[in-house]
């Protein structure tokens, strides 16, 4: 593994652990709460998971749809219908599996995969190579949303994790 791969995997695995802790004490009902219209955890997790298959596809050189148009993509908003998201356990299971899939793809991918040109036109200006977006999607993007859940917990009167 390269330094980039090893570094990303450390942060990625920490994100998975932190994510599980952030919702460990939540009920299915709490996963749907939106104080002051804040993003609820069910949407945040569903949104983060949009990018897992995208990361796997990029690392394996496979085609993928622009995640912008996904039903939980960046243009979506949290909905009150819990059936859209599933139970907390099913969400967490899917999130952990997505994390494992990305980790496996990253371990398999060599330098060639990381050096490949960004296949999604929209991302090219900011992230010209596959390798340049990995840390952004795996750490920056997930970190932002996990931070939202952290503060969402405080708003609910729940303790820090």
């Amino acid at each position: 593994m390269t330094l980039l791969t090893e570094t990303l995997l450390i942060g990625w695995n920490r994100n998975a652990d932190y994510a599980a802790k952030l919702v460990a004490d939540l009920s299915d009902e709490q996963m749907m709460l939106q104080p002051n219209g804040a993003n609820h955890p069910a949407w945040i997790f569903s949104h983060m998971m949009v990018y897992h298959p995208v990361l796997v596809a990029m690392l394996r050189g496979q085609a993928f749809e622009d995640p912008k148009v996904h039903k939980f993509g960046m243009q979506s908003k949290p909905e009150a219908d819990a059936a859209l998201y599933g139970s907390k356990q099913s969400i967490i299971d899917a999130f952990i599996k997505g994390h494992d899939d990305v980790a496996a793809a990253l371990k398999e991918a060599g330098e060639v995969a990381v050096e490949k040109a960004m296949p999604l036109e929209r991302w090219k200006p900011a992230f010209p190579k596959v390798g340049s977006i990995l840390g952004y999607l795996m750490l920056v993007h997930e970190g932002t949303h996990l931070g939202q859940i952290s503060m969402w917990r405080r708003v609910q009167g729940l303790p820090a994790v």
């Binding site: 330094l3 990303l8 340049s132 970190g143 932002t144 931070g147 503060m151 708003v155």
Partner: protein
């Protein structure tokens, strides 16, 4: 990887600027009360904490460059500090955002002077090295992970104050 880290942190700074752009001096240290209690981590503490970590951890402990921040700020912005509602304790928005941008620029300048092998060096600070064995690990954590967790908190804090999305 160095250029990638610099790019990430520049985008993070832009995001932080947007998150605080419309905050009034009264909102800067606001701890909104919810049905279940008080939300303690306010914008002044979060940005001040990011300044503290960028200066003391990234610049001083990882990059080995001189710090510009007063050590006395540890009690205000260090890892175990507790945000308070006393706004007189906290520097204003322009001061803290200026220090944050300055720290980001110093980190970028220091990194641009290094080659990629620098990232493979052992993290110089012993305590930090236990968690992050190499400079690359440490920088990825502080520049791409830690900062965004707190800015995500700031994003949700805005909602608790009734402010819009950014």
């Amino acid at each position: 990887m160095i250029n990638t880290l610099i790019t990430y942190q520049a985008r993070t700074l832009d995001y932080a600027k947007k998150l605080v752009a419309d905050l009034s001096p009264q909102q800067w240290c606001a701890q909104p009360t919810t049905a279940t209690g008080l939300v303690k981590n306010h914008a002044a503490w979060i940005i001040g904490h990011l300044v503290w970590v960028a200066d003391k951890n990234t610049i001083e402990r990882v990059l080995g460059q001189p710090s510009k921040i007063d050590d006395a700020w540890k009690s205000l912005f260090g890892g175990k500090s507790e945000p308070t509602s006393d706004a007189s304790q906290y520097p204003d928005k322009d001061t803290l955002m200026g220090l944050y941008e300055d720290a980001v620029n110093r980190i970028a300048a220091a990194l641009k002077a290094c080659d990629e092998s620098f990232l493979e060096r052992a993290t110089p600070d012993e305590a930090f090295r236990k968690r992050f064995p190499t400079v690359g690990f440490a920088l990825m954590h502080v520049m791409a992970g830690h900062e965004l967790l707190h800015l995500g908190q700031l994003s949700a804090w805005r909602r608790a104050l009734g402010l819009g999305t950014v």
